[in-house]
């Protein structure tokens, strides 16, 4: 009896709120259904436009990140580069091994007997001869500079291509040479080679000048000695004259004669 009374009071007091709640529940249900029907359409629309909208934003962001975080990028790429280099060396070593195998396969050939005789004559092992021939690569003299010892002024040049300003290279080489000779307090010794990446700069000193040859390729001790000889011969033939008699044009022409021939021979 009491319960029924309570229900009636509740109905009277909360009738409006209950109506509203029901109406809201209906509305939510309707919206949910509507959303379910719209959802696939919205997704396909977003999928269609997202690339178009985000592409310029992402591009700008990536460009900025690349510019501002070069170190981080290099840090990330470095191990990958390491792996690539390792792979490259591995392939090159395999090629070298193949080449040696081929050489050894011809053990009883006339050519091979000749090599063994050369090894005996030069006093080196047969292996060294085989390795030297297997690893042989083209040596190219790309630049030659004749530089005044003290001032670092360029007085003659030879160039296969154009690297950068040759006057600046001549100056910097002189500064490096001077720095090393000062630092080690060496007046009798001198800098005779600088290695940079795949390039080697071979330096031959003469009295008032020094000659520097920029060489690409495999520069072993024989190539180096040969080049030093060529440079020294050049110096004694063309540079042992008073400074006023030396012209850049003449010296450069003479260098071109010698080193064009050298490069042709080593092709």
């Amino acid at each position: 009896m009491q319960d029924q009374l309570m229900l009636k009071i509740k109905d009277l007091l909360l009738a409006d709120e209950m109506k509203k709640t029901r109406a809201l529940e209906e509305e939510i249900k309707r919206l949910k259904q509507e959303l379910e029907t719209l959802q696939p359409k919205i997704i396909s629309k977003v999928e269609q436009n997202i690339a178009e909208i985000s592409q310029p934003i992402i591009e700008t962001k990536v460009k900025r990140e690349l510019r501002e975080s070069t170190d981080t990028l290099i840090e990330a790429i470095y191990p990958l580069l390491g792996k690539l280099i390792k792979k490259y060396i591995q392939v090159e070593l395999e090629k070298l091994a193949d080449s040696i195998d081929k050489q050894l396969d011809r053990t009883f050939s006339l050519e091979n007997i000749k090599k063994q005789l050369i090894a005996l004559w030069e006093g080196v092992s047969y292996k060294q001869i085989v390795l030297r021939e297997a690893a042989v690569q083209r040596v190219e003299v790309q630049e030659v500079y004749i530089i005044e010892q003290e001032s670092g002024i360029l007085v003659g040049k030879y160039s296969v291509g154009k690297i950068i300003d040759q006057d600046l290279i001549a100056g910097m080489l002189t500064a490096i040479k001077a720095f090393i000779e000062d630092a080690f307090n060496q007046k009798t010794g001198s800098l005779d080679m600088i290695e940079y990446g795949t390039f080697k700069i071979i330096i031959q000193n003469s009295y008032k000048f020094y000659l520097a040859a920029v060489v690409a390729g495999t520069v072993d001790s024989k190539v180096k000695a040969d080049l030093l000889d060529i440079l020294l011969n050049f110096a004694s033939k063309h540079l042992a004259k008073p400074r006023e008699e030396l012209t850049e044009e003449h010296l450069s022409k003479e260098l071109a004669k010698i080193f064009n021939q050298y490069n042709e021979k080593n092709k």
Binding site: E150, S151, G152, I153, D167, L168, A175, A178, D182
Partner: protein
């Protein structure tokens, strides 16, 4: 027109503006940022000396600043055809040893012309310039400003002309 190459060195205390003068002359640029020169930096610029019918390729050796020029490796001086000694007008400590430094340079390079330059003229008043001139004791050839470019070109042209002789 004949062409000649000449080595010119810039010496002086650290922070006097040697690198900025070269930068202004070679690249027509100026930066407020101060980066100390390590060892030596080499630049090049060709100038035409009309009255001598010559093009001078200036190989400019911008040498790291030292309190005393005796501390500069001697080999950097060798073969120089001209010297630019740079002072900072605003810092008297950059020219207190000038006589001693010049004697040393003249001993090493007796034939090379020396150009004495008071830099950073844009930072001082006419009165300060007078004060500077009386305290430096040695005739200053040019008062320059690497910042606004005043006298930079004419100073390099002057040394080029002196070197050609």
């Amino acid at each position: 027109m004949q062409q000649v190459s000449k080595k010119v060195i810039l010496i002086g205390n650290f922070g006097v503006g040697k690198t900025s003068l070269v930068r202004r002359f070679v690249y027509q640029k100026f930066s407020e940022e101060y980066l100390t020169t390590l060892g030596v930096k080499i630049d090049k610029k060709s100038v035409e000396i009309k009255e001598k019918n010559t093009i001078a390729n200036l190989i400019i050796w911008d040498i790291a600043g030292e309190v005393s020029q005796t501390q500069v490796p001697q080999s950097y001086y060798l073969g120089s055809h001209g010297v630019i000694y740079v002072l900072d007008i605003t810092r008297p400590s950059t020219y207190t040893r000038i006589q001693e430094d010049l004697d040393y340079v003249k001993r090493l390079l007796p034939k090379a012309p020396i150009c004495i330059v008071g830099n950073k003229v844009d930072l001082v008043s006419a009165q300060d310039i007078e004060k500077f001139k009386s305290s430096v004791m040695i005739p200053v050839h040019f008062l320059t400003s690497a910042k606004d470019g005043s006298n930079v070109e004419s100073m390099f042209l002057w040394i080029a002309s002196q070197m050609i002789g």
